[in-house]
Amino acid sequence: MPVQDGDQEFSKGTKVQKRKIKSSQTLNIVSTSSTNNLINQASHLKNKRMNQIRKRKRDLLKRINYTHTFTVVVLPLLSIIYLYKYSQPILPENQDTFYFSCIYFNFTILAFNSGYHKYFAHNSFKIRFKVLLYYFAIFGSSIGLGSIRWWATMHRAHHHFTDDTEKDPYSIKRGFAWAHWGWLIKKPKIVTFYQEFMEQEFPTSQKIVNEIGQNSDEYNRNEVFEYDIGLIDFLNWQDKSYFANFLLTTILIPGLITVYFCDDSLIHGIIYPGILRMFLCQQSLLATESLCHLKSIQVTIPSQPFNDKNSSHNCYNPLMSILTYGQCYQNYHHEFPHDYRSTSSLFAYDPTKWFIWSLEKLGLIEGLCITPNNLIVQLKIQQQQAVLNRMRSQLNWGTPISKLPLITPKDFKRIIGSSSNKDRIYIIIQNIIHDVTPFMEQHPGGVPLLKASHGKDATKAFFGGVYGHSTAAQNLLATMRIGVLDNGNDEEVWGRVVREEGDVEESNSSGQTKSYSTAEAA
């Protein structure tokens, strides 16, 4: 098959190939055994794929998200170049500008964290006065991470498909740089998927909402969604006016305030409280998705107390806490995303939590979402149990009783009597035969006791008659099992099989027989 060259022939070529594939398929039905067709088909597929790759390369410039590149890369870079060229300090010299920058930093990042993140993406509370909506929407845009609809969709996708390299927009599996900055600069590959996801999560019009309500799943066929039309319009407005809002809150407002209230130049106002402040906010937000998902990070003690099946970590490091504005407890957040707190600890550094809490006390919002303590502890326990089960499966617990050979007393006596086993010691405990020869020298109670019990049933002596052995001793004993004594008294043995191996099954979570197990086993 000749490979098509040149960009102009591409569209034509693909069409031809499509037709050919169709014809080859029909041919396939006619003559099944023709290998030629198979080869043809394969090369068609290969060509198609190569065309796709070429197309993607050609479209590289189209796939850059220029709005975000401008806010995330170009603006900070320009301002730093300016500062370098005119040898200005990285922190403002004018004290008033400095104080204003600090206040403005908190003012905007709180709008983003509690508005974009907690309210729109996670529905952590309900708003009673519309003023707050505008505060969230206008000052949230000053971070320069996109409109509410776009950012919250991406964030929900991130929570929904965490660590999925295709669907998670900032999956850490694609590398630190991608999770931190790359995803902002490059448009995602699966555009249509995200568009559909966005329509589903934040519909652009009421009509589509109803459509979804009728078609998407059978459970809601008769119900009509009561999605707030006001909110849809609001999101539409914010989406359209995002860039205007961004310019207003990042350039205009800081610039004017600096000039009129801080007695500083306009350019300082744009750079310090405007762009550099924005850059700092961006870094602290992006760090939660990159640093707090990075397992190999050494500056913190990464831990996953709730779920270790995804990459989110709780970073116990005060520096990380400050850097991420109190959002570094990602493992907790990924398990309880609707909680308005970022961790259940009362004393954690979490300004967003304090802010939302005070809003609630002021009566501006209501219906705070708090995870009950019981649930948090339950999940912690389940996670610890999972870790324990994993550890347990790695240890040697001796041969399971059900897999041991049955040995009759007669055979057993013959085994003892045979000369090849002269130096070995066999002891029966609870109807199970143990070969304790390798352990003999280590027995803390001495060898004579073992020798005296050779070939005999020492159950009583083992369990307190002479010495009540510790759990560790019983574990050691289990590793020395070699067979089950078949003396007609198997009820007791099978009782133990159920007890021990039932446990094993539970831990392997193949609990077909255990359909009545409680949620504890999870």
Partner: protein, 488 residues
């Protein structure tokens, strides 16, 4: 009890085993300490017990035993059973031990106040302190009492000599009572029973007279066949005085003319320091710290105890794995005795170092953690167990569903009325499912709920549906369903 029937396997004779374990199977019953030695640290009549008595004891309950003992001693009450009064306190006290452990150290302290030490003497005292301390931990304890390794003759002689200088009894007596302590931990037979309080396990047990009804024995036939142990036991008083007092006095006196300082600092005070450190293993190690291996008995792990006692502070581990030559497992835990033994083994002076397998150690850790988790689990609300839920028919469910806000998930009926408002995915989804089977929707068709959501769901159970499959572990069910979908 050997059975004639060839179809049956013999059962061991516990009495004869106990005789073996206690060392009473010999024709001439061995006495641990006679004469002055018998009164030195314990009492000789504490070990006059037969295998039959021990067997009977371990097979019957404590109450039965108390009853038997009470009858036996109904006429004569032993001094230890009488209350302490002003008139009989002198009978309670073991005066010999009082002098050795309390009076002499006090005398030393008194003199130390008026006699400032020389630096050289202090260094000598410290060196002897380390020598005697290591002799007790590496020698008396891990080598002789636990047989954790085999040592060269030179080592044994060193341990026997400097160990005697600690004035804690002969190897034979010390190991015997230590083996009893391990065999009967936290029972009345334990000579330093930690359940009777800190001071009893620290010094009280040796300052007061013990009750002879708590007699116990342990097999020390391996020690009695050791020439060095026998020799040290026989000439204990002489060796003790030499090692504890004469040796330091001579070194300090002949070396730099400080006879009196050598006696006070390198003799008396050094000895009493070691004594207190060793007592700390019996008291402090059963008192403060954590129990990572087994919390049914009192031994505990703590770094402070380890610092005081040359590394014997990881006592919970030690009681679980007594014949391990190590006490601390991790590199950062303080156990100089372990290092000494390890170096000796590299020098060829010690060999056959016993260690328990990592597998067994981790098993112990795991089981204890599991126990803790299970205890925590019990405190939480996991929803009503399925077995205790009432069974409803479909009709009953249909009748009550709309009114009470009921949903079927995985064959169980859940009351979600109160929860509707709190549902993170919005109210409409839940409202739409009322009165229906939402198993699929809950388990991934609409949204794959988190483990926490499944836990929350479990607390809302009210009944079981009479027909249909039930899987109480809904999270497990969800994983299975999603797995199937992936394959399809």
């Amino acid at each position: 009890m050997a059975s004639v029937d060839s179809e049956q396997v013999d059962v061991v004779d516990i009495t004869s085993l106990n005789a073996l374990a206690a060392g009473t199977n010999k024709k001439t019953p061995r006495i641990v300490a006679a004469g002055l030695g018998g009164r030195l640290m314990g009492t000789a009549d504490l070990v006059k017990v037969t295998a039959e008595q021990i067997t009977q004891d371990s097979l019957e309950s404590l109450a039965e035993k108390d009853e038997r003992e009470r009858k036996k001693y109904s006429k004569v009450k032993h001094i230890s059973e009488q209350p302490w009064t002003l008139s009989n306190f002198h009978k309670h006290i073991n005066w010999l031990n009082m002098i050795l452990v309390v009076a002499i150290p006090l005398y030393g302290l008194y003199n130390a106040v008026y006699y400032p030490p020389q630096l050289k003497t202090l260094i000598l005292a410290f060196v002897l302190y380390v020598f005697s301390g290591v002799s007790i931990t590496a020698g008396y304890h891990r080598l002789f009492a636990h047989k954790a390794y085999d040592a060269h003759l030179v080592c044994k002689l060193f341990f026997a000599f400097f160990g005697a200088g600690a004035i804690e009894g002969s190897i034979k007596w010390w190991s015997h009572s230590h083996r009893i302590h391990h065999r009967y931990t936290d029972t009345p037979r334990d000579p330093y029973d930690a359940r009777q309080g800190f001071w009893f396990s620290h010094m009280g047990w040796m300052l007061s007279k013990a009750n002879p009804k708590n007699r116990a024995r342990a097999d020390i036939s391996d020690l009695t066949s050791d020439q060095i142990v026998v020799f040290q036991h026989r000439h204990y008083l002489l060796i003790m005085v030499t090692a504890a007092f004469i040796f330091p006095v001579l070194v300090a006196g002949l070396g730099w003319g400080d006879y009196w300082g050598g006696f006070i600092y390198a003799g008396i005070l050094k000895t009493s320091f070691i004594q207190q450190a060793t007592f700390c293993v019996n008291s402090l190690a059963h008192w403060i710290g954590v129990q990572p291996f087994d919390d049914r008995r009192t031994p505990r792990d703590h770094v402070i105890t380890a610092f005081v006692t040359f590394g014997e502070g990881y006592h919970n581990f030690h009681h679980e794995f007594p014949s391990d030559y190590r006490n601390a497992l991790k590199w950062y835990q303080y156990d100089p005795t372990k290092i000494v033994i390890y170096i000796l083994s590299k020098l060829g002076l010690a060999w056959n170092l016993h260690t328990f397998s990592q597998n067994a150690i981790e098993q112990g850790l795991l089981q204890q953690q599991q126990k803790k988790l299970d205890r925590l689990k019990k405190k939480l609300d996991w929803g009503t167990p399925v077995d205790e839920l009432p069974v409803w028919t479909r009709e009953e469910f249909n009748k009550r569903a709309k009114e009470e806000g009921l949903i079927i998930i995985s064959g169980m009926i859940h009351n979600v009325k109160k929860f509707i408002k709190e549902h993170p995915g919005g109210q409409p989804l839940v409202k739409a499912s009322i009165g229906k089977d939402a198993t699929k929707a809950f388990n991934g068709a609409v949204y794959a709920h988190s483990n926490a959501a499944h836990n929350l769901l479990a607390t809302m159970r009210v009944a079981v549906l009479s027909e249909g499959e039930i899987n109480a572990n809904t999270f497990e069910l969800q994983n299975q369903m999603m797995e199937k979908e992936k394959q399809a």
